[in-house]
Symmetry: C2
Subunit: 452 residues, 2 copies
């Protein structure tokens, strides 16, 4: 680690990355390589002697980039956006530069304190009640991913109820969600040892726009209690993955409250992620989380921790180690400001509305679920209303659209219908990309319908 | 995300970080701020309008860096090293620049394939048998942290045995480790719902240099089987956290084999981490892991995955999302080469030996555990062999040494004795830093002994 060598190489890397963004539209957005392509291009063991930085950069250009799916491309409309920004990139750089491990307050007080402060900023920006702020019983933490966020709260809720009813009752604990809830909850249940048959996946349908019905939730609880089971956790969603449905939080919250259940709201897409692209977990009461995830080995003890004077984020998350995560969020909030971030999100929603209008104007297509944010669900209608071939038709349309390399979209299934998902939100996407994307979809649809 | 704005700001950030490394010795290595220091320096909500990049950089310098504990300082000897390098930093930059999410092969084939290839390189560099390579039933994955590595294998082992004996038997499953095993195992057990009273923490002592005794392991298994319990998991360690003890892998492996148990070896410090500073998990049989951690929601289905043509790393780890982690390891291996990396590690061991010699020459101190790698455990002997005050004496020595800001060391407890840990391994540490560190320890010890 030589400061001047770092300076020289890192300046070259900055230019490499800036050039990548300048030319990002020239790549096929979905990588078109075949499985196993890279093994043929690289040696089968590590070099004994050093190679030059330029050789490695050349390999990145020639061998790695063709295998990259370009999430930052303006033509990326798949899954949900996961965006970089100048400010976010600078935050990542600084975090990698300082390269500390922030498990306890003492291992870098600034890392813990900045995270507490910016998550309070975020809670205020989201207009959450004061209980969620770190000065009270609540507080926030940035998890590595949204999956970890739902896992840690599930574990906190599990252990809280098991402390009451005894740990042998784990086979009786019941988790509730809708059939639109993200698969991260199912995985969290697997990890936490919740029996799969005790995960109630409540059916939704177009009548509620794929939102969870409080009535069916109530019914399920009553049935489970009558069977001697213990309802303890509900995961509701604001902006589901398939169609950005919004569960009725107020009504659901009343039910969880009267049944003494943990109420978790997953807003990974439509909530905080819209503002800051990070996996913030904000709690009303942090104590159950800490009770579940604490360890206190001798080699980590220190005066500040033993005196309960500080937060040690190791006890709020799965791993021990953690990066200086808050630098990124802090830089994004400061370098853009809340007003610009709001405008940025509104712009994506406007672009999605525009796309929705284009879909509506073509009678061969339908909008397959109400658009709420910046995701449009659509499908190509089958000729002669022949629903039997509709799913295959849309599956083939997805494959042919993505094979062009011009845009990348993904899919889901809603009420047994195969549906295309067009998620607007990449940072470089402008109106012209939306128009061009729609043209690609129309052209590929025409070609498919022609050979039917 | 404007390419030219990125270029301009990122060049400034490169200079900022390079200057940080140039001046890193001028900071107190352990931050000397008081709890809550940062809240008084920052506003209590996010700005509405953008701030300038220079203002933010000024704040990093004036407000953040004083609260940073400098893990990359040459005077950092605490815990274990967690080092940056020019190559590692470049890998992080590139990963943040491409900023893709590599949960499935299709979301960036290069990310998955490069990880498989470089982990095969690593397995070969570590001279692991061929079963650990990805072309066979094994393979490697880079976890976010070492804690996640032990968690995912524990879950895989748990589910494998529960598939045989039925999931209601979770209360009978027994995990074995020594009292020197990292606390990550205890946390993994908490998360996975292993009953705390079924975690056998086998005692070690100086007679085996704090290594786990196969005899006591055998005895514990027999006793548990006789009590109707089910032994299923052993975590052995190469290089324990307190004193870098090495468990006898061959003998322990025989016992786990004959009892049909999962055998996990934690070498986070002394094994792979020595070469690459990443949380590699390398398995002989990946199938149990994948069975435990798979989900397959509709919105992530794609031809390559459904056809079993590819690896989807989402099924090898806790989170769904993942960075382009292998870029960092690839750059480190290529830009340094195996020979230099080995020399780098040998140099740290030589420096630790030198420090050990210095300790041995001062009769007021003792080396408290055999030095195996680059960690030296030492303690100040109490005057008149008065062991009653020895622990407080060493605790006070730690506090006073760390309060100087000149070096940062940590501690542990071995056989009830409070012991100082001096871990050599920061990338900028040279002989002169070792000599100076020893002088700080001697001076603070003299001051303490004077007032006793």
């Amino acid at each position: 680690m030589d400061a001047e060598q770092l300076r020289e190489c890192a300046h070259k890397m900055v230019d490499f990355i800036s050039d990548y963004y300048k030319n990002i539209e020239n790549f096929p957005v979905l990588s078109q390589v075949q499985p196993g392509y890279l093994r043929e291009l690289l040696p089968d063991s590590a070099p004994t002697h050093p190679e030059s930085f330029q050789d490695v950069l050349n390999d990145v250009q020639a061998k790695i980039l063709p295998g990259v799916t370009h999430w930052q491309s303006p033509d990326y409309f798949a899954y949900f956006p996961s965006n970089s920004s100048v400010a976010g990139f600078l935050g990542e750089m600084l975090s990698a530069g300082i390269n500390m491990v922030g498990f306890s307050w003492i291992t870098s007080p600034a890392a813990t304190e900045l995270e507490m402060i910016v998550l309070d900023w975020l809670a205020k920006a989201l207009k959450l009640p004061d209980e969620f702020l770190s000065i009270g019983p609540g507080g926030g933490v940035i998890q590595g991913t949204a999956s970890e966020a739902v896992l840690v709260v599930l574990l906190a809720a599990r252990d809280k109820v098991l402390r009451k009813v005894g740990k042998d009752a784990i086979g009786k604990l019941v988790v509730y969600s809708s059939d639109q809830t993200h698969s991260a909850l199912q995985k969290a249940c697997q990890i936490g040892g919740i029996h799969p048959e005790n995960h109630r996946v409540l059916k939704t349908d177009p009548s509620t726009e794929y939102a969870l019905s409080p009535e069916s939730f109530c019914e399920a609880i009553s049935h489970d209690i009558a069977s001697g089971l213990i309802p303890f956790f509900l995961c509701a969603t604001v902006g589901t993955t398939s169609s950005t449905a919004v569960d009725p939080l107020l009504a659901l919250g009343e039910i969880t409250k009267s049944n003494g259940m943990w109420f978790h709201v997953d807003a990974a897409y439509a909530g905080s992620a819209c503002i800051c692209q990070s996996s913030a977990t904000i709690l009303m009461d942090r104590s159950a989380l800490i009770q579940s995830l604490s360890t206190n080995p001798e080699f980590l003890k220190n005066k500040a921790s033993q005196g309960n004077m500080v937060v040690d984020y190791k006890d709020w998350q799965i791993p021990l180690g953690r990066r200086f995560r808050s630098l990124k969020l802090w830089m994004v909030l400061r370098l853009y400001g809340l007003e610009n971030l709001q405008a940025y999100i509104r712009n994506h929603i406007e672009l999605a509305k525009m796309f929705e209008e284009l879909v509506k104007q073509d009678p061969r297509f339908e909008v397959a679920a109400p658009r709420k944010f910046s995701l449009v669900c659509l499908r190509l209608l089958p000729p002669q209303n022949n629903e039997d071939c509709a799913n295959k038709l849309n599956h083939d349309l997805l494959e042919s659209v993505n094979s062009t390399g011009k845009i990348f979209i993904s899919h889901t299934v809603l009420s047994s219908k195969y549906v295309l998902r067009f998620a607007v939100g990449a940072p470089l996407t402008e109106e012209r990309h939306i128009v061009a994307a729609w043209k690609v979809l129309q052209e590929e649809a025409s070609a498919l319908l022609r050979i039917l």
